[in-house]
């Protein structure tokens, strides 16, 4: 698992790569908490384009991020979601709660 972030203008882009299961979820949630505290304003993009596998732990990661940003009045957009991960999000109806950017 690899997680990185970069600031583009006022947008914070967090990218998660490789695999996102229960084994990786804690580190990702903690990393996101640290980065959100470091950059406490502006929209956030979660880039999943390099994700190779995700299970329902990914739902928890995205919902945690969504709730934290909602409380802070900030927006979230998930982009580059691979088909396997999107099937998991769709099974949980997450695209009705969180904004997903389709296509590249």
């Amino acid at each position: 698992m690899k997680i990185t972030h970069q600031r583009t203008g006022d947008t914070l882009v967090i990218a998660v790569a490789d695999e996102l299961g229960h084994h990786e979820a804690r580190e990702i949630i903690d990393y996101m908490g640290t980065v959100l505290a470091l950059y406490p304003a502006g929209p956030v993009v979660l880039d999943l384009s390099a994700l190779k596998f995700m299970d329902s732990s990914g739902l928890a990661v995205v919902l945690n991020l969504h709730r934290a940003l909602l409380r802070a009045g900030r927006s979230l957009c998930v982009r580059g979601t691979p088909p396997q991960a999107m099937r998991v999000f769709q099974a949980a109806n997450l695209p009705h709660i969180v904004t997903f950017e389709m296509g590249e």
């Binding site: 299961g21 229960h22 596998f53 945690n64």
Partner: protein, 147 residues
Amino acid sequence: MQNVQNMMSIKFESRSVNEGFARQTVAAFVAQLDPTIDELNDIKTAVSEAVTNSIVHAYADKLGYITVSVKLFEGGRVEIKVKDTGCGIPDVAKAREPMFTTGDDTRSGMGFTIMESFMDKLRVRSSAGRGTVVTMAKSLALRAGGR
């Protein structure tokens, strides 16, 4: 009743680092049936959910063993059993409800829902103090040229 074409079993400790090992091993074994990428991903995801449940809930405060068994049947049916000897699930019907979880913020409560959505059949047998067996089955689509 279809004949078993091939079978395998793995046993490993309930360490979270073994979740990836379990799903990848099952996927490598099932690959001999020439599944589609979507079918293989569905199986990997369901196995990941079942194994994670055992690690997080069955052995919450201790290490134990998890056994994953796979049977491949003639005609392309795959049956997977994930067995632990942990604490058991007090109320299986409740545990299978979407969004229900007794886990921490890394859990969504959607594990059983994902297993049900991605596999054709799901059966959960559990008894307090003795453990849980999750049995999942999926029939792979027939491909042009046969299997």
